[in-house]
Protein backbone atom coordinates (compact mmCIF):
# COMPACT_ATOMS: atom_id res chain seq x y z
CA UNK A 1 0.00 0.00 0.00
CA UNK A 2 1.38 3.41 -0.92
CA UNK A 3 1.61 5.80 2.00
CA UNK A 4 3.33 9.04 2.94
CA UNK A 5 5.05 9.31 6.32
CA UNK A 6 6.92 12.14 8.04
CA UNK A 7 9.21 9.60 9.77
CA UNK A 8 11.28 6.54 8.94
CA UNK A 9 9.46 3.23 9.41
CA UNK A 10 12.08 0.99 10.94
CA UNK A 11 12.92 1.30 14.63
CA UNK A 12 16.28 2.80 15.57
CA UNK A 13 17.44 0.66 18.46
CA UNK A 14 20.43 2.92 18.99
CA UNK A 15 18.15 5.92 19.61
CA UNK A 16 15.53 3.94 21.50
CA UNK A 17 17.93 2.24 23.94
CA UNK A 18 19.85 5.49 24.57
CA UNK A 19 16.65 7.28 25.55
CA UNK A 20 15.41 4.36 27.62
CA UNK A 21 18.59 4.09 29.69
CA UNK A 22 18.84 7.88 30.00
CA UNK A 23 15.34 7.81 31.53
CA UNK A 24 16.75 5.34 34.09
CA UNK A 25 19.43 7.86 35.00
CA UNK A 26 22.33 6.49 32.97
CA UNK A 27 23.78 9.64 31.53
CA UNK A 28 26.71 8.06 29.69
CA UNK A 29 25.21 6.44 26.57
CA UNK A 30 26.53 3.15 25.19
CA UNK A 31 28.75 3.74 22.20
CA UNK A 32 27.98 1.34 19.36
CA UNK A 33 30.55 -0.02 16.93
CA UNK A 34 30.84 2.09 13.79
CA UNK A 35 33.05 1.50 10.75
CA UNK A 36 33.36 3.51 7.58
CA UNK A 37 34.42 0.45 5.60
CA UNK A 38 33.46 -3.23 5.60
CA UNK A 39 35.37 -6.28 4.35
CA UNK A 40 33.81 -8.67 1.81
CA UNK A 41 35.05 -12.14 0.88
CA UNK A 42 33.40 -13.72 -2.18
CA UNK A 43 32.48 -17.41 -2.15
CA UNK A 44 35.44 -19.51 -3.24
CA UNK A 45 33.29 -22.20 -4.89
CA UNK A 46 29.71 -22.69 -6.02
CA UNK A 47 27.18 -22.51 -3.19
CA UNK A 48 26.07 -26.06 -4.00
CA UNK A 49 29.55 -27.22 -2.94
CA UNK A 50 29.66 -25.13 0.25
CA UNK A 51 29.33 -26.23 3.86
CA UNK A 52 27.35 -23.56 5.70
CA UNK A 53 27.73 -22.81 9.43
CA UNK A 54 25.49 -20.86 11.77
CA UNK A 55 26.30 -18.48 14.65
CA UNK A 56 23.68 -17.47 17.21
CA UNK A 57 23.53 -15.11 20.19
CA UNK A 58 21.16 -17.49 22.02
CA UNK A 59 22.41 -19.68 24.86
CA UNK A 60 22.27 -23.45 25.33
CA UNK A 61 19.33 -24.70 27.37
CA UNK A 62 21.11 -26.52 30.20
CA UNK A 63 19.71 -27.80 33.49
CA UNK A 64 20.42 -24.57 35.37
CA UNK A 65 18.92 -22.35 32.71
CA UNK A 66 15.91 -24.64 32.59
CA UNK A 67 15.41 -24.84 36.36
CA UNK A 68 16.22 -21.31 37.46
CA UNK A 69 15.41 -19.28 34.36
CA UNK A 70 18.89 -17.79 34.31
CA UNK A 71 22.46 -18.74 33.48
CA UNK A 72 25.55 -17.93 35.50
CA UNK A 73 27.79 -17.02 32.63
CA UNK A 74 27.25 -16.30 29.00
CA UNK A 75 29.70 -18.60 27.30
CA UNK A 76 31.10 -19.20 23.85
CA UNK A 77 30.22 -22.68 22.65
CA UNK A 78 30.15 -25.05 19.69
CA UNK A 79 27.60 -27.88 19.83
CA UNK A 80 26.16 -30.53 17.51
CA UNK A 81 23.79 -29.13 14.89
CA UNK A 82 22.09 -32.45 14.17
CA UNK A 83 19.57 -33.00 15.57
CA UNK A 84 18.75 -29.30 15.87
CA UNK A 85 17.96 -28.23 19.46
CA UNK A 86 14.27 -27.86 20.18
CA UNK A 87 14.79 -25.11 22.73
CA UNK A 88 17.38 -22.41 23.36
CA UNK A 89 17.91 -20.05 26.30
CA UNK A 90 16.98 -16.50 25.34
CA UNK A 91 15.44 -15.04 28.52
CA UNK A 92 18.43 -12.80 29.32
CA UNK A 93 18.80 -11.39 25.81
CA UNK A 94 17.60 -8.11 24.36
CA UNK A 95 14.50 -8.90 22.26
CA UNK A 96 10.88 -7.83 22.19
CA UNK A 97 9.28 -10.02 24.85
CA UNK A 98 6.04 -8.04 24.62
CA UNK A 99 5.46 -8.62 20.92
CA UNK A 100 6.74 -12.12 20.21
CA UNK A 101 8.32 -15.30 21.61
CA UNK A 102 11.26 -17.59 20.87
CA UNK A 103 9.51 -20.95 21.30
CA UNK A 104 10.22 -21.89 17.69
CA UNK A 105 14.00 -22.16 17.50
CA UNK A 106 13.95 -21.99 13.69
CA UNK A 107 12.64 -18.42 13.92
CA UNK A 108 16.14 -17.36 15.01
CA UNK A 109 18.36 -20.47 14.58
CA UNK A 110 17.28 -21.92 11.23
CA UNK A 111 19.18 -25.23 11.34
CA UNK A 112 16.19 -27.21 10.05
CA UNK A 113 15.65 -24.77 7.18
CA UNK A 114 19.33 -24.98 6.24
CA UNK A 115 19.16 -28.78 6.38
CA UNK A 116 16.26 -28.65 3.92
CA UNK A 117 18.40 -26.59 1.53
CA UNK A 118 21.19 -29.17 1.93
CA UNK A 119 18.71 -31.98 1.16
CA UNK A 120 17.70 -30.07 -1.96
CA UNK A 121 21.37 -29.63 -2.99
CA UNK A 122 21.21 -25.81 -2.86
CA UNK A 123 24.16 -26.12 -0.45
CA UNK A 124 26.50 -29.08 0.03
CA UNK A 125 25.88 -29.46 3.78
CA UNK A 126 25.27 -27.81 7.12
CA UNK A 127 28.27 -27.71 9.47
CA UNK A 128 28.19 -30.53 12.03
CA UNK A 129 28.28 -27.90 14.81
CA UNK A 130 26.68 -24.51 15.32
CA UNK A 131 28.29 -21.75 17.33
CA UNK A 132 27.12 -19.55 20.19
CA UNK A 133 28.57 -16.15 20.87
CA UNK A 134 27.39 -14.10 23.85
CA UNK A 135 26.27 -10.54 23.26
CA UNK A 136 28.80 -8.59 25.27
CA UNK A 137 28.86 -5.03 26.54
CA UNK A 138 32.59 -5.10 25.78
CA UNK A 139 33.35 -4.82 22.07
CA UNK A 140 36.98 -5.68 22.93
CA UNK A 141 35.98 -9.09 24.28
CA UNK A 142 33.87 -9.77 21.19
CA UNK A 143 36.64 -8.81 18.77
CA UNK A 144 39.68 -10.18 20.62
CA UNK A 145 38.30 -13.28 22.36
CA UNK A 146 35.06 -14.42 20.73
CA UNK A 147 35.59 -13.73 17.03
CA UNK A 148 38.97 -15.53 16.79
CA UNK A 149 37.50 -18.59 18.56
CA UNK A 150 34.55 -18.71 16.15
CA UNK A 151 37.03 -18.49 13.25
CA UNK A 152 39.03 -21.39 14.69
CA UNK A 153 35.92 -23.58 15.05
CA UNK A 154 34.90 -22.57 11.55
CA UNK A 155 38.23 -23.83 10.19
CA UNK A 156 38.11 -27.05 12.24
CA UNK A 157 34.67 -27.82 10.81
CA UNK A 158 35.52 -26.89 7.20
CA UNK A 159 32.88 -24.14 7.03
CA UNK A 160 32.85 -22.39 3.62
CA UNK A 161 30.28 -19.71 4.47
CA UNK A 162 28.71 -18.53 7.71
CA UNK A 163 25.21 -17.40 8.65
CA UNK A 164 25.05 -15.14 11.71
CA UNK A 165 21.61 -14.69 13.17
CA UNK A 166 21.28 -11.92 15.75
CA UNK A 167 18.32 -12.32 18.07
Amino acid sequence: MNQRRPYRSFVSYIDRSREYYAAQGYSQPYTWAHHDDAPLTPLKKPLSECRVGLVTTAGKMDAEAEGQGRRKIRELYAVAANPAPRRMFTADLFWDKGATHTDDVDSFLPLNRLAEYAAGSRIESVSSRFYGVPTDYSQGRTSLRDAPQILEWCREDGVDAMFLSAL
Partner: protein, 125 residues
Amino acid sequence: MSLVARHLEQNGVPTVVLGSARDIVEECGVARFVFTDFPLGNPCGKPWDTKMQRSIVGTALDLLERAWMPRTTVQTPFRWSNDEWRDAFMRVDDSNREALARAGEERRRQQAEAKKGDRYRNGKS
Protein backbone atom coordinates in the same frame (compact mmCIF):
# COMPACT_ATOMS: atom_id res chain seq x y z
CA MET B 1 27.50 -10.31 16.21
CA SER B 2 28.41 -7.89 13.40
CA LEU B 3 31.95 -7.66 14.81
CA VAL B 4 32.26 -11.45 14.53
CA ALA B 5 31.03 -11.31 10.92
CA ARG B 6 33.63 -8.67 10.09
CA HIS B 7 36.39 -10.79 11.65
CA LEU B 8 35.36 -13.84 9.61
CA GLU B 9 35.27 -11.78 6.41
CA GLN B 10 38.71 -10.32 7.14
CA ASN B 11 40.01 -13.87 7.47
CA GLY B 12 38.54 -15.26 4.27
CA VAL B 13 35.15 -16.62 5.38
CA PRO B 14 32.11 -15.24 3.50
CA THR B 15 29.24 -14.30 5.83
CA VAL B 16 25.66 -13.17 5.84
CA VAL B 17 24.00 -11.56 8.88
CA LEU B 18 20.26 -12.06 9.45
CA GLY B 19 18.70 -9.51 11.77
CA SER B 20 15.98 -7.02 12.63
CA ALA B 21 18.04 -4.22 14.23
CA ARG B 22 18.89 -2.46 11.01
CA ASP B 23 20.64 0.55 12.47
CA ILE B 24 22.94 -1.45 14.74
CA VAL B 25 24.13 -3.79 11.96
CA GLU B 26 24.50 -1.07 9.33
CA GLU B 27 26.39 1.27 11.66
CA CYS B 28 28.85 -1.51 12.41
CA GLY B 29 29.17 -2.35 8.70
CA VAL B 30 28.98 -5.95 7.46
CA ALA B 31 29.46 -7.58 4.06
CA ARG B 32 25.91 -8.91 3.57
CA PHE B 33 22.78 -8.27 5.63
CA VAL B 34 19.29 -9.74 5.33
CA PHE B 35 16.96 -7.35 7.15
CA THR B 36 13.48 -8.42 8.21
CA ASP B 37 11.44 -5.58 9.70
CA PHE B 38 10.07 -7.53 12.66
CA PRO B 39 10.17 -6.99 16.41
CA LEU B 40 13.49 -8.28 17.77
CA GLY B 41 13.47 -12.04 18.33
CA ASN B 42 12.56 -13.72 15.03
CA PRO B 43 15.05 -12.53 12.39
CA CYS B 44 14.63 -15.77 10.42
CA GLY B 45 10.84 -15.65 10.14
CA LYS B 46 7.70 -15.79 12.25
CA PRO B 47 7.48 -18.67 14.76
CA TRP B 48 6.07 -21.85 13.17
CA ASP B 49 5.87 -20.26 9.70
CA THR B 50 8.22 -22.66 7.91
CA LYS B 51 7.40 -21.26 4.48
CA MET B 52 8.47 -17.75 5.52
CA GLN B 53 11.56 -19.09 7.27
CA ARG B 54 12.55 -21.02 4.14
CA SER B 55 12.13 -17.88 2.07
CA ILE B 56 14.31 -15.77 4.41
CA VAL B 57 17.03 -18.42 4.58
CA GLY B 58 16.84 -18.70 0.77
CA THR B 59 17.29 -14.92 0.46
CA ALA B 60 20.41 -15.15 2.64
CA LEU B 61 21.79 -17.95 0.43
CA ASP B 62 21.09 -15.88 -2.69
CA LEU B 63 22.90 -12.93 -1.12
CA LEU B 64 25.96 -15.07 -0.33
CA GLU B 65 26.22 -15.80 -4.04
CA ARG B 66 25.29 -12.47 -5.53
CA ALA B 67 26.60 -9.60 -3.39
CA TRP B 68 29.54 -7.99 -5.14
CA MET B 69 29.99 -5.05 -2.75
CA PRO B 70 30.19 -4.95 1.07
CA ARG B 71 27.34 -3.37 3.06
CA THR B 72 24.77 -4.97 0.78
CA THR B 73 21.44 -4.98 2.63
CA VAL B 74 18.43 -6.86 1.34
CA GLN B 75 15.07 -6.28 3.02
CA THR B 76 12.69 -9.24 2.95
CA PRO B 77 9.08 -8.47 1.94
CA PHE B 78 7.46 -9.70 5.15
CA ARG B 79 5.45 -7.60 7.58
CA TRP B 80 4.46 -8.28 11.20
CA SER B 81 0.74 -8.66 11.85
CA ASN B 82 0.53 -5.12 13.26
CA ASP B 83 2.73 -2.05 13.87
CA GLU B 84 2.05 -1.57 17.58
CA TRP B 85 5.42 -3.04 18.60
CA ARG B 86 7.28 -0.21 16.87
CA ASP B 87 6.27 2.39 19.47
CA ALA B 88 5.77 0.04 22.41
CA PHE B 89 9.29 -1.37 22.66
CA MET B 90 11.41 0.51 25.26
CA ARG B 91 8.91 3.33 25.18
CA VAL B 92 9.57 6.35 27.39
CA ASP B 93 6.65 8.72 28.05
CA ASP B 94 4.86 10.48 30.90
CA SER B 95 3.16 7.26 31.95
CA ASN B 96 6.40 5.47 32.86
CA ARG B 97 9.05 8.19 33.25
CA GLU B 98 8.96 8.18 37.06
CA ALA B 99 8.88 4.40 37.28
CA LEU B 100 11.92 4.14 34.99
CA ALA B 101 13.86 6.66 37.07
CA ARG B 102 13.03 4.71 40.23
CA ALA B 103 14.02 1.40 38.58
CA GLY B 104 17.38 2.91 37.59
CA GLU B 105 17.99 4.14 41.15
CA GLU B 106 17.13 0.73 42.55
CA ARG B 107 19.42 -1.04 40.10
CA ARG B 108 22.35 1.22 40.95
CA ARG B 109 21.69 0.68 44.66
CA GLN B 110 21.75 -3.11 44.20
CA GLN B 111 24.92 -2.92 42.11
CA ALA B 112 26.61 -0.78 44.79
CA GLU B 113 25.55 -3.28 47.48
CA ALA B 114 26.91 -6.19 45.43
CA LYS B 115 30.19 -4.36 44.94
CA LYS B 116 30.47 -3.63 48.66
CA GLY B 117 29.85 -7.32 49.38
CA ASP B 118 32.61 -8.34 46.94
CA ARG B 119 35.09 -5.96 48.55
CA TYR B 120 34.21 -7.28 51.99
CA ARG B 121 34.67 -10.90 50.87
CA ASN B 122 38.00 -10.03 49.26
CA GLY B 123 39.22 -8.37 52.47
CA LYS B 124 39.47 -4.91 50.93
CA SER B 125 36.81 -3.12 52.95
